[in-house]
């Protein structure tokens, strides 16, 4: 392993790899360490949704910035990411949701997002096959510029592009500890040897909390298992991601026709659990057939699990911490780290290079949890 680097990134997920790319592009010397392999964690386990419809302004801005980057990402990275703007249809089932969604839409519009509230009888104009009355949907919001991409292709795309520009990526390399002097990390001990770095970025996803613990920094993040499944391909017949916070459920069809979706078990306890459950398979089948009865004939190929790195307000933790000056947080994405990665990586790269960040990130620092926080409510938990 080399002796020193400008920036050491811990974690080969989409955020770490994208950051490596934007830093080497700016001329920094970058090293990334990953305990296993690129995209082995949540970046390789999610459904690839990219949405801008959030209830907090910070998340809307992050996601809108991200979409601008996704729109030209294939060209930028020189690879295919299967990015497609198929839209997001978010269903409302209660009067309370209708009120919240209308507030969301008006805030999102004030940020310049093209988004609309749909009445019950307009929902089938977007997806004719959806069993609107059967699922009890009474309204929806629709944003056609939301979409999806293949998260593994995006992550590997960033990693390979970063490596081509000179980033050093060490797979199967674990961080074992740190040497700290005067509130600054001076050396990082890894399973491959020690390395000195000016900045150390904690982008270890659901394991970020464990990395921070090595430095005596307490992150409020908790890991939650989230399960997902995919079917065989069938002729493509809808393009949006369909999502219901009420049923804690989402699904979409990939460009080649596979149905991919997830359901969050409200009884899920925090923990590092990757097991697949029959409870999940049954509930997904129940919801898929309720939402689109004809899906009962489609074969399920595979189910798996990943971890959400969940913060108390479901928003990420970005930027430095008070106690260790050069320890930068890039974690706590709470289940939507993939979709914002291009933007969060750009912002952290700007921060490290001493540039003005294109969005303010101070409100997303760890210190915010000392006071009262505004919770993001548009989440599948």
């Amino acid at each position: 392993m080399k002796e020193r680097t400008d920036v050491l990134i811990i974690g080969g997920g989409v955020n770490g790899c994208a950051l490596a790319y934007y830093l080497v592009k700016r001329g920094a010397n970058v090293t990334l360490v990953e305990r296993e392999y690129i995209a082995c964690g949540s970046s390789g386990r999610n459904a690839g949704g990219i949405r801008q419809q959030w209830s907090t302004r910070e998340n809307v801005r992050l996601a809108m910035g991200s979409v601008k980057i996704f729109e030209r990402l294939d060209e930028e990275l020189g690879c295919e990411t299967d990015y497609r703007q198929g839209g997001y249809l978010i269903l409302a089932h209660t009067e309370e949701e209708v009120k919240q969604f209308k507030r969301n839409v008006s805030m999102q519009k004030s940020e310049g997002l093209e988004v609309e509230y749909l009445e019950q009888d307009e929902i089938n104009d977007i997806v004719p096959e959806l069993n609107v009355e059967g699922i009890g949907a009474i309204g929806a919001t629709w944003c056609p510029s939301d979409g999806h991409a293949d998260p593994i292709k995006v992550t590997i795309g960033y990693a390979e592009a970063a490596a081509r520009k000179g980033a050093q990526i060490y797979k199967y390399t674990e961080v074992l500890g740190f040497r700290v002097e005067d509130n600054e990390i001076v050396e990082v001990k890894t399973s491959r040897g020690s390395i000195r770095a000016d900045y150390i970025v904690n982008a270890a996803g659901a394991y970020s909390k464990e990395i921070a613990k090595l430095l005596g920094v307490q992150l409020p993040n908790k890991p939650y298992r989230h399960e997902i499944l995919i079917t065989e391909p069938v002729k493509p017949f809808f393009t949006p991601m369909i999502i219901s916070f009420h049923d804690n459920f989402y699904f979409r069809q990939t460009p080649e026709g596979q149905i991919i979706g997830g359901w969050g078990n409200p009884r899920e306890e925090p923990g590092y659990n990757y097991e697949s459950s029959l409870t999940f398979a049954k509930n997904m089948a129940r919801l898929l057939t309720k939402y689109m009865p004809k899906l009962r004939h489609v074969n399920v190929l595979r189910q798996w699990a990943g971890l959400y790195d969940v913060t108390p307000d479901a928003r990420p933790i970005l930027g430095p911490v008070e106690t260790v000056r050069n320890f930068i947080q890039m974690n706590g994405f709470s289940g939507h780290g993939f979709m914002v990665a291009p933007m969060t990586a750009t912002l952290i790269a700007q921060l490290i290079m001493g540039e003005k960040t294109s969005l303010p990130i101070k409100d997303l620092s760890l210190e915010r949890f000392k006071g009262e926080v505004v919770k993001e409510v548009s989440v599948v938990g």
Binding site: E232, L278, K282, N283, A285, N299, V300, L301, Q303
Partner: protein, 92 residues
């Protein structure tokens, strides 16, 4: 010369596998993510055995050093409707 198919569900060729190994993807799980092989309807029943042989030959790995891919449920494709009946007859 004709192409040699390793994964017939996803049309992954021997040439693609060998190129990825040269690029540094030297484990079954990494190759699965990089090339999508083993992710089709047969869930790796054909290609994973072939892949182990290619890794042994091309990457110089001993058979015992090759970690096989993680088998995901439901192992064989199962219609959504079958699982749905389970959902209503089961306790969950």
């Amino acid at each position: 010369m004709g192409e040699i198919i390793v994964c017939r569900c996803r049309d992954v060729t021997l040439e693609m596998v060998e190129k990825a190994i040269d690029e540094g993807y030297k484990t079954v799980e990494e190759l699965k993510r990089k090339l999508r092989l083993g992710m089709g309807p047969c869930q790796g029943r054909t290609c994973m055995r072939l892949l182990a042989g290619i890794l042994r030959r091309k990457a110089g790995l001993k058979p015992e050093a090759i970690k096989h891919h993680r088998i995901r449920p439901p192992v064989r494709p199962v219609p959504v409707g079958v699982l749905e009946v389970e959902a209503y007859e089961g306790e969950d």
